[in-house]
């Protein structure tokens, strides 16, 4: 039987890649410390597979065809298409894990979830900035799960919690003894391309941290459902943290670091969840 061995989350943002070498050193060091810590913890888990829950920034999908959730089941995925990413993370192919990806997809369908599937996703900065900065081994197979965090209407918070629980179920019902870790990427608050662009809503971020530290999914869902429409649009990526939270068993988490990062336009958060016993 497979085993969930670690659940983590980290922020992303194009400026982290674009300005890495030119941002103030003390700020870069803070970001580096957060990513390094998560990377070291992930490595210590010795995962065989990494599920990455991330948004798609108009790379794979458009409004002509926009799934709420898409699971990547291919043997390979394409590296980031953004030129600013290719400079720092020049990997054109990332290894997938077809067998587990397909099992996750089939488990979802068997439980009345209807995700889209892809045999080859292009993994943009949302996935690849954390992989790059965490120093994730390029040989580690990835099962990408794309969540629509960008274009309304989006999956409900309750559905994201259900997705997390379903992922856990899929891991525990997989017959091979794989060690599987999960990384949620995005958030915390940020505001992109709208009248409040650049706003980092620290009150929202601290409230999220408090709710993730608790283990009351109903309160978490109620808070986010009410608060998300009133903060910056980038905060919708918190859905990827919600999936991680529920996959870990909603037993609280350890905040590795949080700080507003106006240099990169995000509330930068790094976290590792406590795992509930299987």
């Amino acid at each position: 039987m497979a085993e969930l061995v670690g659940v983590f989350a980290a922020s992303h943002g194009p400026i982290i890649a674009r300005d890495w070498d030119v941002m103030p050193a003390d700020h870069r060091n803070k970001l580096k410390a957060g990513f390094d810590e998560i990377g070291q913890r992930l490595t210590a888990c010795r995962p065989d597979v990494l599920i990455v829950v991330s948004p798609d920034h108009w790379v794979n999908f458009f409004i002509s065809n926009l799934p709420a959730v898409c699971i990547g089941i291919g043997e390979e995925h394409d590296g980031p298409p953004e030129p600013f990413m290719q400079k720092v993370y020049p990997h054109t192919r990332l290894k997938g894990h077809t067998a587990f990806g397909r099992h996750l997809l089939e488990t979802a369908l068997a439980h009345d979830f209807e995700p889209a599937l892809s045999h080859r996703l292009r993994l943009d900065h949302g996935t690849c900035i954390p992989l790059w900065r965490m120093g994730v081994d390029i040989a580690l197979p990835i099962v990408p799960m794309i969540v629509n965090d960008l274009e309304e209407p989006m999956p409900s918070i309750r559905r994201c919690l259900a997705w997390g629980r379903l992922i856990r179920q899929a891991i525990e019902s997989y017959r091979e003894p794989l060690r599987i870790a999960l990384l949620g990427t995005g958030g915390l608050s940020h505001s992109i391309g709208e009248a409040t662009m650049g706003w980092i809503d620290e009150a929202f971020d601290h409230a999220c941290i408090k709710h993730f530290s608790d283990s009351d999914d109903e309160r978490l869902a109620a808070f986010l459902t009410e608060a998300l429409p009133r903060t910056g649009n980038g905060a919708h990526e918190i859905r990827d943290w919600v999936v991680a939270h529920a996959a870990a068993g909603s037993k609280g988490f350890e905040l590795i670091d949080y700080f507003p990062s106006p240099q990169t336009l995000v509330g930068a958060g790094f976290a590792a969840w406590k795992l509930s016993p299987t």
Binding site: W58, F62, S64, P81, L150, I192, G193, A195
Partner: protein
């Protein structure tokens, strides 16, 4: 309200560097290949952030103005000006309601 064709133009420019180069050389010629309404065509040619913002996803808007070569600081300043307009409108509306 989302405008499909303005969104499609932005999406295509994001994914096709040749089209983006062509757009930089002759915006009008590229715009005319899409079923874009005249008022939105004017907004594109004028880099009118305020008119375009409600028509497309906010991330696509940011990508578009990066392709247009608008410095991010200027893009943000133009968006913030919209916020000021929104607040001003709210104040006027509130004043009218209470006045």
């Amino acid at each position: 309200m989302t405008d499909y064709w303005v969104s499609k133009l932005f999406f295509d420019l994001l994914h096709d560097p040749k089209l983006a180069a062509e757009y930089r050389a002759d915006m009008a010629a590229v715009i005319d290949r899409y079923e874009i309404k005249p008022e939105f065509r004017r907004a594109l040619l004028a880099d009118d952030v305020g008119t375009l913002a409600p028509l497309v996803n906010a991330y696509l808007l940011r990508f578009y103005f990066q392709i247009r070569g608008m410095p991010e600081a200027e893009f943000i300043a133009r968006l913030h000006a919209l916020k000021d307009q929104v607040w001003l409108k709210d104040q006027v509306r509130e004043g009218a309601a209470h006045g």
